[in-house]
């Protein structure tokens, strides 16, 4: 069974329909890159998967569980915010603007989830968190506050913070768009190694090179609908749809 299954997802803000019936399936261990012009609804779709936005129609399942609902007796019951929070533990998210907690050190940022949300012991979590910081290449920065770190370092701490919850799925929303060009590589390297280790990932990105080398599948979104999807070589090198061709002509 697929890890993520989205069927007919629709979402409007006021009178503008931003997602117009999106179908998307992501298998375990698969890396899917979402591409598309600004305003296509990429971020909105990603936020729906994590129930940061409620959807108006359609359904999203993550690991067989309907996002934002509990199924029982042939009915779906809408969850309270506290229960949604429990669902989100299994899904990590990395934001364009990092959103690290500025009043906590890098290590404390990483420890926050396991300690406060899962209620695990500090000593054990501390060791794990240090190992995670090591993995993203920031072992020596564990005591630094976010303001003392570069953008690339902050984003790597943010990735470690998400990984600390041992998620089944990682969502990335343009993780390198707010970075100076020379810092993009260090973040993409961490994401690449994560993909190699078998993490299931949905990545919104404008980094075509990353999509080409790491993605198993590329999905092209325009005006809230999937226009084209397939392997990187199909979609990126041999696009069939005029919208995809136009977009790639501009980006490449």
């Amino acid at each position: 069974m697929a890890l993520v299954e989205a069927v007919g997802v629709r979402k409007s803000f006021g009178h503008t329909e931003v997602l117009r019936g999106i179908d998307l399936t992501v298998d375990r261990g698969e890396v899917v890159c979402l591409l598309g012009p600004s305003g296509a609804g990429k971020s909105t779709f990603l936020r729906c998967v994590n129930h940061l936005e409620t959807i108006d129609a359609g359904r999203i399942w993550v690991d067989g569980v309907p996002v934002g609902f509990r199924s029982s007796g042939g009915k779906l019951f809408e969850l309270r915010e506290r229960e949604v929070a429990a669902q989100r533990r299994d899904v990590g998210m990395v934001f364009q603007r990092f959103n690290l907690f500025p009043h906590r050190t890098a290590l404390e940022n990483v420890m926050e989830g396991p300690v406060q949300v899962l209620g695990r012991g500090r000593a054990e979590v501390r060791a794990e968190s240090l190992a995670l910081l090591e993995r993203v290449g920031l072992a020596e920065k564990s005591g630094s506050y976010p303001a003392q770190l570069s953008g690339g370092q902050q984003q790597r701490v943010a990735i470690a913070r998400a990984l600390a919850m041992k998620p089944k799925l990682m969502l990335f929303d343009e993780p390198t768009s707010a970075l100076d060009p020379e810092l993009v590589g260090e973040v993409l390297d961490v994401m690449t190694s994560l993909a190699r280790d078998g993490m299931t990932m949905i990545v919104v990105t404008h980094e075509i090179g990353f999509a080409r080398s790491v993605a198993d599948r590329v999905v092209f979104l325009v005006d809230g609908a999937v226009v084209e999807s397939g392997t990187p070589s199909d979609v990126l090198d041999n696009p069939q749809q005029p919208r995809t061709q136009q977009f790639l002509a501009k980006v490449l």
Partner: protein
């Protein structure tokens, strides 16, 4: 070379004759005031005695208890009203708006007087089938002053807390949600600590106002500092001497509060 030429020339520093003049005027005014105070018909030697007079100390203790209790209650109520003001429930939002409108809109002195005289219109305070007590037993001067000062302050605190909560980047809440935090944990661990930077400075100012505002409770004969000073002077007629002793206590309290505020601000300051 140019620098050699320059070093040969004499340097004339800019003179500041007006600085000297205005400084002298200020010193003269201070000396004059000091001389007037020394010449005034004040028994200075009696002031220290009034400063530590048992009645004055009782008034001091009551002032501190009233100010701390009213401010503490106002902070708790203010957080609740601020959360209602920001909540998705329209009834809660409107209640919060009305609450702030009412308790911020009326003079504190008027509110204290209304609470103190409540027994005139309600003989008993009761919740049907739960309890009932005579109003004049419950509504002591302390309780009336606590309600008058505390409720007024809670309306201000609600606005301060709301400003603080709104100042925190929404991305912080989203990041907290994304690691599975519940709304309450998010508030406690992520939003409030960051809101503190905005909340503490005005709260410190308000607490200093609260310390001085307790003096209004003297009109309903609550034994705070001013009422204590009046009690002492009604026997010995040294009105100014006792008032000066009370004034000294206010300055001591306000100075201590300012120091406390400084350290709190530092503790929650930017990293």
């Amino acid at each position: 070379m140019a620098s050699d030429v320059r070093s040969d020339l004499e340097v004339v520093p800019l003179r500041h004759p007006w600085r000297w003049f205005s400084g002298a005027v200020i010193l003269l005014v201070i000396v004059g005031l000091g001389w007037a105070m020394a010449e005034a018909q004040i028994q200075w030697e009696d002031v220290p005695g009034f400063f530590t007079h048992p009645v004055m100390l009782e008034g001091l203790l009551n002032t501190i208890v009233l100010a701390v209790a009213a401010q503490g209650g106002a902070i708790v109520l203010g957080v609740i009203i601020a959360l209602m003001r920001l909540s998705a429930n329209p009834v809660a939002r409107w209640f919060a708006v009305g609450y702030i409108w009412l308790f911020r809109g009326l003079p504190v002195l008027l509110q204290i007087l209304i609470w103190f005289n409540l027994a005139l219109v309600f003989q008993n305070i009761s919740i049907p089938m739960l309890f009932s007590v005579p109003t004049n037993v419950v509504m002591t001067a302390f309780v009336a002053a606590l309600l008058g000062l505390g409720l007024n302050e809670s309306a201000y605190m609600a606005e301060i807390v709301r400003a603080g909560l709104s100042s925190v980047d929404p991305g912080q809440t989203e990041a907290a949600k994304s690691i599975g935090m519940t709304p309450l944990t998010t508030l406690r661990r992520v939003v409030l600590p960051q809101a503190m930077r905005v909340i503490i400075p005005p709260t410190g100012n308000n607490f200093i106002n609260m310390i001085k505002g307790t003096s209004m409770a003297s009109v309903i004969a609550f034994l705070e500092l001013i009422h204590a000073a009046n009690n002492i002077s009604s026997r010995n007629l040294e009105i100014m001497e006792t008032l000066f002793a009370a004034a000294a206590w206010y300055l001591v309290m306000v100075s201590l509060a300012s120091i406390g505020q400084h350290y709190l601000e530092r503790a929650y300051g930017p990293r």
